[in-house]
Symmetry: C2
Subunit: 100 residues, 2 copies
DNA sequence: GCATAACTTTCCATATTGGCAAGTATAAAC
DNA sequence: GTTTATACTTGCCAATATGGAAAGTTATGC
């Protein structure tokens, strides 16, 4: 049982939540992610930057309803890293789960 | 989908690993936990103290093979908190899991 | 051009984690 | 009983991370 596979980029709760959303929806709006994670604009922006820097997320900007918007999507690396992280969590948790 | 249930006492990887071990085995030796978590004595000691302070773990000291040993066990609160934490992780991860 | 919304970046405070080294405690040897 | 070694524990410090407020930037609509 090793935690080697735990990805510290994805470990913080806010980033795990963002990743979980991106794993399900192809695109997620900045505002929606901020509601889900319940952090301030600046903090979400920084978390997204961290994900972008890791090569896990791509940001797309454009206009919708006459307003500038930002959408986040997973890159292939992001999908892969999230899958691996989830497996790592499951490896730790699944075994323990039997006893709960 | 809220991360409200994520227990920050159990969130750090080292503590999650310790908790996962304790969920399965009634007692875990200090030395074994140190091998699993791959941290130094002092760091493990501090993590265990954090778990004790949270009321999640109880430490027992005694002699074995003529040496002083320390064993960690979950308290009832520890078991409960770990179960809740695992459920919180699964709530985030399980939904995403479908798409992996 | 100007105002506004939607982020982004800077600055700062706080917290956490990790290791080393020194300290304490207990058991065994003598 | 004193010494010694093992098994942690605590103090100290450095490095990193997270969070928010506020100022800054950019794009859109008027």
């Amino acid at each position: 049982m090793s935690a080697g596979a735990i990805d510290m980029v994805l470990h913080p709760p806010a980033r795990l939540q963002v990743a979980a959303v991106l794993a399900r929806t192809s695109k997620a709006e900045f505002a929606r992610l901020r509601e889900i994670t319940q952090v301030s604009d600046s903090v979400l922006s920084k978390h997204l930057s961290a994900l972008v820097d890791a090569g896990y997320v791509k940001l797309t900007k454009g206009a919708l309803d006459g307003r500038q918007r930002t959408w986040a999507t997973f890159t292939a690396a992001g999908h892969k890293a999230f899958a691996a992280h989830v497996r790592a969590l499951q490896a730790i948790v699944a075994a323990a789960d039997e006893t709960i």
